[in-house]
């Protein structure tokens, strides 16, 4: 009776863990290749895409 629904509590815990993992990846930063890529794009150079575009 007095027990809180466990699934609700579990789901909160799962979301907390998801956020923790997400934050860790986000806080890792990004590899240097993305700074290079943005630099090329800003200079108007067309970088090689890792897959073929549609247009």
């Amino acid at each position: 009776m007095g027990n809180p629904p466990k699934s609700k509590r579990d789901y909160q815990e799962i979301d907390e863990n998801l956020r923790r993992v997400f934050d860790e990846v986000v806080n890792e930063g990004v590899p240097d290749r993305f700074a290079d890529l943005l630099g090329k794009l800003k200079r108007g150079e067309t970088p090689v895409k890792s897959s073929e575009g549609d247009e």
């Binding site: 789901y11 815990e13 799962i14 993992v21 986000v26 930063g29 897959s51 575009g53």
Partner: protein
């Protein structure tokens, strides 16, 4: 130096893009489960976004716009590659230091191993809604499905994770352990 930026009340999407790269990378990792593929996916997304910024409405949600491109690129690459079994390297789990959550109940590696087992629809719903704080509405728009669909995918994902991690048994297990310990210490028994 300040040029025309003083006049501009908002950053251009070109300048704002860089702030979204880490989140895009996390989303890409949750889709591909492979760090090399994730970075390629982010690169393709950046290039596509860059050449399509004229279609982006300044003042609307850039992050959702970028995530939509990333997601579409992922599915379109996957269709082209016709690769049903992705090359999972468990990077979400492997990249993380092994440390228990605040109450020590959940190991992050176990958690991410379980996450990697979920179907992609549930992984993306959980990443968007559970991890990166998208509203159900934003997530639904990003995935091009109804809000109810996102809700049910996220909840199925949470349920599957809870089952994979046996979260629901925790309380009983703890109680049982305590009861068992009491019995064992009282009786002096050494075997289970």
């Amino acid at each position: 130096m300040v040029s025309d930026s003083a006049k501009a009340p908002q950053k251009s999407p070109e300048d704002e893009l860089i702030e979204h790269l880490p989140a895009m990378r996390a989303f890409a990792l949750s889709l591909t489960r492979n760090s090399a593929q994730a970075d390629d996916l982010v690169q393709d997304t950046v290039v596509k976004a860059w050449t399509n910024f004229d279609k982006f409405q300044v003042g609307t949600n850039l992050r959702a716009w970028l995530f939509t491109i990333l997601r579409n690129t992922f599915y379109s690459n996957r269709r082209k590659a016709k690769r049903e079994v992705p090359d999972v390297d468990g990077v979400f789990a492997a990249g993380l230091a092994e440390k228990p959550s605040h109450d020590g109940r959940l190991q992050m590696n176990d958690f991410m191993r379980a996450f990697d087992k979920l179907p992609v629809e549930q992984r993306e719903a959980l990443l968007l809604v559970g991890a990166s704080g998208f509203s159900y509405e934003e997530a639904a728009e990003t995935c091009g499905v109804a809000i109810g669909t996102i809700k049910s995918r996220a909840n199925r994902g949470r349920k599957a994770l809870a089952e994979l991690l046996h979260l629901r048994d925790d309380e009983e297990l703890e109680l049982t352990d305590r009861a068992t310990m009491a019995v064992l210490s009282a009786s002096g028994s050494s075997s289970v």
